[in-house]
């Protein structure tokens, strides 16, 4: 589904990604872990098309198509979703109208019928149950005055509405208490299917106990230093990141 080859990217001329290779197939769940400043979030933003980052080399194919020939909104409509670490607030734009516009843009791109406000109302009330959101949040301004947890709930609601092929979830667990993490993690699991894939970006293994990855990658200094199965997450929880960095340094010296 997603094929990343020797990807390099920089921000304001400073290289952040220094050669990433990653294959994600349909049905798979991958986790990217690593210390702060390792380039994890950058990878997500580059894939989603954030304007601040410049792709300096390499190739990314999404379902065989060159990702970098698509604008950010086109990538989204093609099925790439990013759950933001810090969702922005937009005063005066109701959550429901934002969700409906996003839904309809995607429906239009896929040749499906768009939903009018009444149809969408029925549709969305089915979806908010999945993330245990109260319906009053639909009428409020987008993320405005939402707590950190409510914002994350809203992100997963958007994911449930858009049903992306590839969801990149950046630090979903930050700002969430354990109960909320459980609810949202379960919601993400319910949305995961054989024809969809997940890329979980986190530096705490806790979330990976709920959303269990088949593949765990350690990213540091803009490179993937180690890739393994889900047992790697547990090992990282016990031992931290330093041993991976040391191992990689030794490997590089050899």
């Amino acid at each position: 589904m997603l094929s990343i080859k020797n990807l390099t990217a920089s921000i304001n001329g400073t290289p952040v990604l220094k050669g990433i290779d990653l294959e994600i197939r349909a049905g798979e769940i991958h986790a990217i872990m690593g210390p702060n400043g390792s380039g994890k979030s950058t990878l997500g933003k580059v894939l989603a098309g954030h304007p601040s980052y410049e792709v300096t080399g390499g190739e990314v194919l999404f379902e065989g198509k060159n990702l970098f020939e698509m604008e950010a909104d086109a990538r989204a409509r093609a099925g790439i979703f990013m759950g933001f670490q810090h969702p922005i607030e937009v005063p005066g734009v109701s959550n429901a109208s934002f969700l409906r516009l996003a839904y309809n843009k995607k429906a239009e791109a896929e040749g499906r019928d768009e939903l009018d406000p009444l149809e969408f109302d029925d549709f969305i009330h089915g979806k908010i149950k999945v993330v245990a959101m109260r319906s009053e949040f639909l009428d409020r301004s987008l993320n405005e005055g939402f707590s950190g947890g409510e914002k994350k709930r809203n992100e997963i609601l958007q994911m449930a509405v858009l049903e992306p092929k590839l969801a990149i979830l950046d630090e979903l667990d930050s700002g969430l208490d354990i109960d909320a993490l459980r609810v949202l993690g379960d919601a993400v699991n319910t949305l995961q299917r054989a024809d969809r894939a997940l890329l979980i970006i986190t530096h705490f293994p806790r979330i990976l106990e709920i959303i269990q990855p088949q593949f765990v990658h350690v990213l540091s200094g803009g490179r993937i230093l180690k890739s393994s199965g889900k047992e790697l997450a547990l090992e990282l929880e016990e031992r931290g990141y330093d041993w991976v960095l040391a191992e990689a340094a030794a490997g590089g010296a050899r």
Binding site: G49, H50, P87, F98, K105, A109, L162
Partner: protein, 479 residues
């Protein structure tokens, strides 16, 4: 590859065409003779000529204000044409057939419903082209309920007692530099009179068009609502695209007696100059409403999107006890536009209330300032004011400022002020785009959300127009 915020607009001003029409104009320049010429042209009574000359003599002693946060080359008042009227030189057209077809096409192109049959909106319109009113629709229908709606010149002829009573009663001739200039040379405008107890059966509207390259537009609007009367009045304006600046210095006076209500809405889209700041209208306007009676209510709603320079403070004098003043404003500036706009709420009567909601949007290299005064006078027991002034910046090279002035002389007053500044940045746009929403639609949605509190005060049709206009003005702000 990616969308970045860049502040180049591709959107052209679509009302920038010039009508090729023979005009009856006076030579440029200002003198007592020119004023006498205008007054004679309009067949005015002696007292009105005196009003003009007095204003002119006072104006000569005044200096142009420079406290606003705007920079421009001061107009040369001797190079302005103070009277320009499309020929034929009749002050009033007996029927639409007499109107020059070229003029009719102009308003057709502008989408102004000049023809009653063709008008769908059911809005009565007074159309002002340079210095004269071309036509006023639905006049007969309005007359059946006693509503007077006509050009200012006609009102001077037909209802001199009302004009004499109210002209200058809210904005005195010597009020300020531009008001004095207007009082000396005003040419036309609209007059509205709603008699006691009458709710005006339709919205009234004036459409202003500057066509002549050298002409200034100095219109005068006077709206009087007697006891218990109410009216909703709309104003729209456009001008052709010239690389020189044209001066627009209007005066609008509103008078509301006991329990009367006047709602005044403006969508201002004068030519703003090109993206390098060449040309455009200098919009120096004095608008003031007097809540004279007990329980009277005056509400200003403005959507300011045009003009090179805007200097405008629609205000309310809350004289009557329990009177209410409101000011809802969206001011958008792009490229090199400069706006210094806001309001004054002067609380004189007891239990008077005022609300100020101002939304400033700046893009390009523009400068957008809110300037507002809330004054609570000593006997304004129980006065209340709520002000909210929000600014939104698009890009990195524009500026927004807020200058709230507060003078409270009565201890029982309650005054609240809130202000925010936000920025449509890459992060906001990226969020929308990441959900599949293209940048242009994202901007439009964000801006409309930002302006919602003001737009909902506009009459429905105007609100739709305003929404479209803002999107149009910002088109290309994101590249």
């Amino acid at each position: 590859m990616s969308t970045t915020l860049n502040v180049v607009t591709s959107q052209e001003y679509k009302y920038g065409f010039v009508t090729d029409i023979e005009a009856d104009s006076v030579a440029p320049g200002l003198s007592e003779d020119v004023i006498r010429f205008i007054s004679a042209k309009k067949g005015e009574p002696e007292w009105l000529l005196e009003f003009r000359l007095k204003a002119y003599r006072h104006w000569l002693t005044m200096t142009e204000p420079d406290w606003a946060k705007v920079n421009y080359e001061k107009p040369d008042f001797q190079r302005i044409v103070y009277y320009s009227a499309p020929k034929p030189k009749v002050a009033k057209y007996a029927s639409m057939d007499e109107v020059d077809p070229e003029l009719l096409r102009t308003f057709e192109k502008l989408g102004v419903p000049i023809n009653e049959q063709a008008s769908l909106a059911g809005v009565a319109v007074d159309v002002v082209f340079d210095s004269v009113s071309v036509t006023t629709t639905y006049k007969e229908k309005l007359a059946t309920v006693g509503v007077i709606f006509c050009s200012f010149s006609e009102a001077v002829r037909e209802h001199p007692e009302l004009i004499r009573k109210y002209l200058g009663s809210v904005v005195p001739a010597a009020d300020n530099f531009y008001a004095a200039l207007n009082s000396a040379v005003f040419t036309d405008g609209s007059f509205v009179f709603i008699p006691k107890g009458v709710t005006c059966p339709m919205d009234l509207s004036t459409y202003f068009r500057i066509n002549n390259k050298e002409s200034g537009q100095f219109e005068r609007t006077l709206i009087v609502a007697e006891e218990g009367a109410s009216v909703s009045y709309l104003e729209g304006c456009t001008a052709p695209q010239f690389d020189t600046n044209q001066l627009h210095a209007a005066v609008v006076e509103l008078v509301a007696l006991d329990q009367a209500s006047i709602k005044y809405s403006t969508v201002q889209n004068w030519y703003a100059g090109d993206k390098n700041g060449l040309g455009g209208i200098f919009n120096f306007v004095t608008k003031r409403g007097l809540c004279k009676g007990k329980g009277s209510h005056i509400s200003w709603t403005q959507v300011e999107t045009g003009s090179a320079i805007t200097w405008k403070y629609p205000s309310c004098i809350l004289l009557g006890d329990d009177s209410i003043g409101e000011f809802y404003s969206v001011a958008l500036t792009n490229h090199k536009q400069q706006a210094d706009t806001g309001t004054k709420m002067v609380h004189i009567g007891k239990n008077t209330k005022s609300t100020i909601i101002s939304k400033g949007i700046s893009a390009g290299d523009s400068s957008n300032s809110y300037r507002g005064l809330v004054k609570i006078q000593p006997r304004a027991e129980g006065a209340r004011n709520f002000s909210q002034c929000d600014s939104m910046l698009i890009g990195h090279t524009c500026s927004a400022s807020t200058f709230p002035y507060l003078e409270v002389q009565n201890r029982s007053a309650k005054v609240e002020h809130e202000a925010t500044t936000s920025k449509i940045g890459e992060e906001q746009l990226f969020y929308f785009q990441q959900r599949g929403i293209p940048a242009e639609e994202a901007i439009s949605m964000i801006i409309n959300g930002f302006c919602k509190d003001v737009f909902r005060e506009l009459p429905m049709e105007f609100a739709v127009e305003a929404t479209k206009l803002l999107s149009l003005k910002l088109e290309g702000s994101v590249g």
